[in-house]
Amino acid sequence: MVEVAFQPTSVPQARTARKASSLRNALKRKSTMAFLMTLPLILLIAIMVIYPAFYSIHLATLNKAMTKYVGFGNFQFLFKRETFWMVVEQSCIFAITAVIFKALIGFIVAHFAHNIPSRKQRKWRGMLLVPWVIPPAMSTLAWLWLFDPSYSAFNYTLGLFGAGPIPWLGQTAWARFSIILVNVWFGAPFFMIMYLAALKSVPEQLYEAAAIDGANWWQRIWYVTLPMMRNIIAITTLFSLIVTFANFDITRILTAGGPLDSTHVFATWAFRLGIEGGDIPLGASVSLFMAPILAIAAIFILRDISRRGNEA
């Protein structure tokens, strides 16, 4: 108190001036520092992600030897090929079916896991997440062996019940089914974990209130669980849709696109054309068709983030 009273009138002005300049200095230092700390990240993203993404648009307009500009020539060529439309169809069938089944199975399993006493949940969760932990290339090899044309363990088991051998990877329809099966096997645990975390965050009182109001099991899910989990369901599905749409490992190892190119998705066909066929521009044009789904996802996520920002 005394100190404040004693302060001469001229000093505060000088002090505020000095304080302001030192504050500005500190601010400058802080922002420079922050910029330097994020610089490696910015460089990495700019050089290894953003630049190649635009470079692939440029590549898609070149001819095979990458010496001449051909405009939309690669795309015109693709649109005329039957295989291309087959790949579009297969990619969409594959991604949509697989994501729906992953989400459904994940939701159901999460419910069952949520039902049991929390003491035992850990053990079950541990077992159910194993498919997600094994590198997909390695686990797909196990599936390839399970689907083997002559020694298939599945066909052996089916044979015990008198059912005929199934050409798991030999026929188009079965090969598509097998690829989706493996993808669902690999991806469902991710949904399960996400939904289980979301289920745990739904307040118990809501269920009690619903039960008092006489809601049955179905109504509790429809009016309480699903609205409470809407956000997490949306974002998980979006994530998974992107990852599944761009999936490479499973199709590559199981069928490599066969039989007769009927199970190619964008990623494997781009690899076949670009790396194995040596036509990088054509491969780049194929892989660019994965961009629209990405753009849609980006719009949704940005909207979600800005909405959350407004709420907060």
């Binding site: 190649p52 969760r125 990852v243 892989s287 990405l294 996520i301």
Partner: protein, 303 residues
């Protein structure tokens, strides 16, 4: 008060209570039943890997019951673990994974710190941008990247393609955005008072990061490390595109390209290799499951 008394006296309540607990018991039984079914579905491929890896080629081709090992043998394991080629794959994979994890942490931890605490021009946009780059898949980028590295070697004469260390440049694109995103989330949850106290005590930004943020956000750091390790261990597309000589391959590609020779599938060895390739992530998962799951759920719940 009076309604409460009547309610308590009502006989119907007791009956309903009994049926509810019976419902619960049945729900529990059904839950266990279906969980068992799903657990079997999840565990069949890895168990089948183990079964096949214990069989000799003769037993596999004899087409006996595939679900049982009649003459267990460790010969597949011995053969692979003494083969220089296989050990080379393992070594390459381990090198790549460890170095990539280090690079990832060195880039993403300071960046996450700066983005979550030191607000500067464009920091919010950058944080969102980091998340969006995580969504750009490897299968969209491998062709332009391949061409970029080819052009780079034409210009400078440094050949990176077909060397295992080319992966050190490629994998961070997959790991850094997500790890930064996780760490931003963890750092943001640390109370501001903590670092303000440190600043008042005269700590520099660097000291705040190493003395306060890293110890407090250690669980997040472990989760991010596990994520970076699993991604770099499991990545298949980039090594398949960028490396071809057998001494430069990493595990997944090495097993698939060298153990599958033409149409001859030595399934005993392939399954052994696959199991050994799956072992490091599985071991980490077995010991650090909670961190693993924390990392998995952090990405989307904080999005």
């Amino acid at each position: 008060m009076s309604t409460l008394a009547i309610d308590k006296a009502g006989p119907s309540r007791k009956v309903k209570y009994g049926s509810m607990s019976r419902d619960r018991a049945w729900a529990l039984r059904w839950s266990y039943f279906f969980l068992t079914l799903f657990a079997i579905f999840s565990l069949v491929p890895p168990i089948y890997m183990l079964i096949t890896s214990l069989k000799s080629s003769a037993e596999i081709s004899a087409a006996t019951n595939p679900w049982w090992v009649f003459h267990p043998t460790l010969s597949n394991y011995l053969e692979l673990l003494t083969s220089n080629q296989f050990l080379r794959f393992f070594w390459n994979s381990a090198c790549v994974a460890v170095i990539v994890v280090t690079i990832t942490m060195l880039i993403s931890v300071p960046a996450a710190f700066a983005l979550s605490r030191m607000k500067f021009w464009g920091s919010a946009t950058l944080a969102t941008g980091v998340f969006l780059t995580y969504l750009i898949p490897d299968s969209l980028l491998f062709l332009p990247l391949f061409k970029m590295f080819a052009v780079f070697s034409d210009w400078t004469g440094i050949r990176l393609i077909n060397k295992w260390y080319v992966l050190l440049f490629l994998y961070p694109t997959l790991t850094v955005p997500f790890c930064t995103w996780i760490m931003i989330g963890y750092f943001a949850s640390i109370p501001k008072e903590l670092d303000e106290a440190a600043i008042i005590d005269g700590a520099s930004w660097f000291q705040t990061l190493t003395r306060i943020f890293i110890p407090v956000a250690l669980p997040g750091l472990i989760a991010a490390t596990i994520f970076a390790f699993t991604v770099s261990w499991a990545q298949f597309l980039y090594p398949l595109v960028f490396t071809t000589s057998t001494d430069q391959l990493v595990m997944p590609v090495g097993i698939i390209t060298t153990l599958i020779k033409g149409d001859v599938f030595n399934w005993g060895q392939i399954m052994t290799g696959a199991l050994l390739g799956a072992a490091p992530p599985l071991l980490i998962y077995a010991f650090l499951m909670d961190y693993y799951i924390a990392g998995l759920t952090a990405g989307a719940t904080k999005g």
